[in-house]
């Protein structure tokens, strides 16, 4: 069934079809509609889940963790300041191996108080041990929630499904709502091997000395290393059932490109439009949209960028005192790769400043005019 829905509701439908069982949530602009619809679904029994109104995002994640430890499939959603307040509990979810799925609406961090999109909120949580899926359409948002549970529960690692404020969260698009029985066939019920139960009581997350902690973190990394293949595998399985591929990256005309954009989120879709416009002008451009950032798809990035002549990484985020976060990661992936292309780093669109096809054309003009990057950061669109 096709429906015209906003990105936030795509998250709600994703959680509903995944049969989330416990949904603790605290509202925050621009996430509110996600949990509004879920609470309506719970009230009308469309979704058989426990909806918990909590007093903060910290409590929302704490409730998700405990419910997940008890063996329930859990979902919550937040944005920016709310995600930052969850920070401590994000570590607890991944370290405790609770495969919670969290929808995060990318919103710029205050101050100045902003409700518009950029990626610094979720990228500040890059190292918490969560998988991160960045989406470029409402369909991808819905599909990613289902895939996030599938991969997360197989590895016992939590996952964030991330979408841009307003550009997706409040934008209505046609979305194919998958049939419940097909989703059930793809995503079996959550049955963790170890869970909290009165029949076999255990203490979870207790004091862990130097003789054990190191190994637990080793295991988390080893399982995270299994995630790229599992994401590709479940993405193919998803395609067989639903006709839509969910991979680590989205390649658009990369094969013969002289200039390859590396992009993410909704800007990753705008980049495709810019690629076509540039090709009309005789410039062979391509676009590699990063869908998954944790685990970082090293092999895929090396394979695709290793063949490119030039790469332009477009960051809607910044690591102050360094440079764009995707730029750092792409460059580190290419370390030691023979014939790696020159990689340019661009920062644009912070705090919800529009990223348009013209933004990408400006980036292309800059990158094509130079043999290699001669400055660490090129700012696109700053008024100066």
């Amino acid at each position: 069934m096709k429906k015209v829905i906003m990105g936030n509701h795509a998250l709600s439908y994703g959680a509903m079809l995944s049969r989330a069982q416990v949904i603790p949530a605290y509202p925050i602009t621009p996430q509110t509609q996600v949990v509004e619809l879920l609470s309506e679904m719970c009230a009308s029994k469309t979704l058989d889940a426990k909806f918990i109104k909590v007093e903060s995002e910290h409590s929302a994640m704490a409730s998700c963790i405990s419910a997940s430890a008890a063996g329930a499939r859990t979902f919550t959603a937040t944005s920016a300041q709310g995600l930052a307040l969850m920070h401590e509990m994000l570590h607890w979810a991944s370290g405790g191996r609770h495969p919670v799925v969290l929808g995060n609406i990318n919103r710029a961090m205050a101050p100045g108080w902003s409700i518009w999109t950029d990626q610094n909120d979720s990228l500040s949580e890059r190292d918490t041990g969560w998988m991160q899926f960045y989406c470029s359409s409402n369909q991808e948002v819905l599909d990613s929630v289902i895939q996030a549970y599938k991969v997360g529960e197989a590895l016992m690692i939590p996952a964030m499904v991330i979408l841009d404020a307003f550009a997706l969260s409040h934008t209505y698009e046609v979305v194919e709502i998958p049939e419940q029985d097909k989703v059930d066939a793809f995503l079996p019920p959550f049955k963790p091997e170890i869970r909290l139960t009165p029949d076999d009581p255990h203490a979870f997350g207790g004091l862990t000395g130097p003789e054990h902690y190191f190994e637990l973190r080793y295991k988390l990394q080893k399982d995270m290393e299994k995630a790229p293949a599992l994401i590709e595998g479940t993405g193919l399985e998803f395609e067989r059932l639903f006709g839509r591929r969910l991979g680590l990256v989205d390649e658009y005309k990369c094969g013969d490109a002289d200039l390859l954009f590396v992009s993410s989120g909704t800007a990753g879709y705008t980049a495709n439009v810019a690629v076509d416009l540039l090709r009309d002008e005789g410039i062979k451009a391509g676009n590699l949209r990063m869908r998954v950032v944790r685990p970082f798809p090293f092999e895929t990035v090396r394979r695709i960028l290793g063949k490119a002549k030039k790469a332009a990484v477009v960051d809607r985020n910044i690591s102050y005192g360094h440079h764009g976060i995707f730029y750092q990661e792409v460059k580190s992936a290419l370390y030691g790769v023979k014939k790696a292309p020159p990689v340019f780093g661009y920062i644009t669109g912070l705090g919800g400043r529009d990223i348009t096809p013209d933004t990408f054309k400006e980036i292309a003009a800059h990158a094509l005019a130079k043999d290699g990057p001669d400055e660490e950061i090129v700012w696109i669109g700053v008024k100066r």
Partner: protein, 98 residues
């Protein structure tokens, strides 16, 4: 007193370990009573057997034996809540001598 299961679990390799920290025995093995600077001393003559100290002890390090409170000094951190809450004022916090 309850028998203490101070069995300490030490895994030799990551392959033996569960994914998450469960029941590694650290709570029983780690005798937090060593942190104590002041110790509760109960005058059982004045004790009303009300059980309030047992109820309030956050550790919990007070058990009721034959209707009267007994402090488990292996785990009592000396917070003093029992002395504060005791309606008969029969618990005093004395300086710890080690």
């Amino acid at each position: 007193m309850k028998e203490k299961k101070a069995k300490r679990i030490v895994y030799r390799s990551e392959r033996e370990m569960p994914l998450m920290v469960i029941s590694v025995g650290s709570q029983t093995h780690n005798l937090t009573g060593a942190w104590r600077n002041i110790r509760p001393e109960i005058d059982l003559e004045k004790c009303l057997k009300c059980g309030i100290c047992w109820k309030f002890c956050p550790e919990p390090a007070i058990e009721i034996v034959d209707e009267r409170p007994v402090v488990d000094y292996d785990y009592c951190k000396g917070c003093g809540i029992c002395a504060e809450e005791c309606p008969a004022k029969c618990i005093v916090m004395a300086e710890e001598r080690k």
